[in-house]
């Protein structure tokens, strides 16, 4: 399936669109998306720090997703680096 990842915070600096489209298996879990994004980043993002992605969470519009959860049906997720609001 095709998934669209929206990037926030420090992850925005790696791609002007702040979004990445990836292809993953139809039964992919969040952990699989993390692996696919890491591979994409290492291939295409100059100066990418893998530590930042390791500390980033994946989320839908309503909740943070755990690693073992399936990808949302609409294939849309947000990638959230460590937060610093307030």
């Amino acid at each position: 399936m095709k998934i669209e990842l929206n990037l926030f915070g420090a992850l925005r600096q790696y791609t002007p669109a702040a979004a990445v489209t990836l292809e993953v298996a139809d039964d992919a879990r969040v952990a699989d998306v993390r692996t696919a994004l890491r591979a994409h980043a290492e291939a295409y993002w100059p100066g990418f720090h893998s530590g930042l992605l390791a500390r980033s969470a994946f989320a839908s519009e309503t909740t943070v997703l755990r690693e073992g959860e399936p990808v949302p049906a609409d294939g849309r997720m947000a990638v959230l680096p460590p937060v610093s609001g307030g």
Binding site: A10, R55, V83, G85
Partner: protein
Amino acid sequence: MDAHVDTVQFAIADIARHRLDPAAALDFVSDPGFGGIAMFVGKVRAQNLGREVVGVSYDMFDPLALAVFAQAAEEARALVGPRLKLHVSHAKGRLGVGDLAVVVAAGTPHRDEAFRACRLMIEKVKHQAPIWKQEHYLDGDSVWSEGCSLCEGHAHDHD
């Protein structure tokens, strides 16, 4: 949130169009039955970690931020009871030193509940809401703040 629609107010203020308004927050959480209102106002500081700050930019994932505020409000209600009004507003975009970044207000019958609810809400905003701060320094450099990981096992790993 449906059952408490008149008692919670959340706002994301795109600073190109809106300003945070502490007086309006106080008004919202006021009630004839409430004696205590606790409020927290966060402003942009001129220094951080020894560097001279000239401004900050806030990025936000709006729908999830509003969901986190709503969940935090439910936790506050569980903590202090149903007689509670809450306001949370957070700026989005580029701010200068002294500008308002966040306003949290809690109104309750007595002061202890107001302080506890207000503190819970600002901690959730700081540690769990999908909001990111980029600091702009006097020397022209900009850096995203380190922040708190939302991953499992990383909860509250940084303040």
